[in-house]
């Protein structure tokens, strides 16, 4: 499926979303494709995602062995780390949750 998506615009749109503290895109081998974080931080996050993802997948398959991970997130009181995988890549966003 061809798209005329403007990657830079969409990336910036996510980045300017209130509360977003960082965005990372990696491939399934963990190589950094695009990131708002420095190199070391990007690589650290990448390793953690690659460590977490197969375990998230195994958890889902416990319920339905055909299930594939479309999204996972981890919440603390104040922060939300969201990861959306799709075929060859992962998109991760770190968001600071507002308390009203």
């Amino acid at each position: 499926m061809t798209t005329d998506l403007n990657v830079d615009e969409t990336f910036k749109k996510l980045q300017t979303h209130k509360g977003v503290k960082g965005i990372l895109i990696i491939n399934k081998n963990g190589s950094v494709i695009k990131s708002t974080f420095d190199n070391d931080t990007s690589q650290q996050y990448s390793k953690l995602i690659l460590d977490l993802f197969p375990r998230a997948s195994t958890l889902l398959k416990q319920n339905d062995e055909k299930d594939q991970v479309s999204f996972f997130r981890v919440r603390s009181q104040d922060n939300d780390i969201m990861v959306s995988p799709d075929n060859d890549y992962f998109l991760m966003v770190v968001n600071q949750v507002k308390h009203e």
């Binding site: 998506l5 969409t10 996510l14 959306s84």
Partner: protein
């Protein structure tokens, strides 16, 4: 991190640029950015960790 993990390959700028311009990447980013966008909007509207039936002090316990 454990030392038996394969070292992450660092891509050069040309590799990154080619990936960012590929159809497979654009298709991925088009879909997943929308998922994350909706998740962010939900975070903005409802914090599931907050108990709206209680005072703030109790919800922090």
């Amino acid at each position: 991190s454990s030392s038996n993990e394969p070292e992450i390959i660092v891509l050069n700028d040309l590799d990154k640029s080619n990936i960012l311009e590929s159809d497979s990447f654009k298709s991925f980013f088009s879909r997943t950015s929308k998922v994350i966008e909706r998740a962010l909007c939900l975070d903005d509207s409802i914090d599931i960790l907050v108990d709206y039936t209680k005072s703030d002090e109790e919800s922090k316990s």
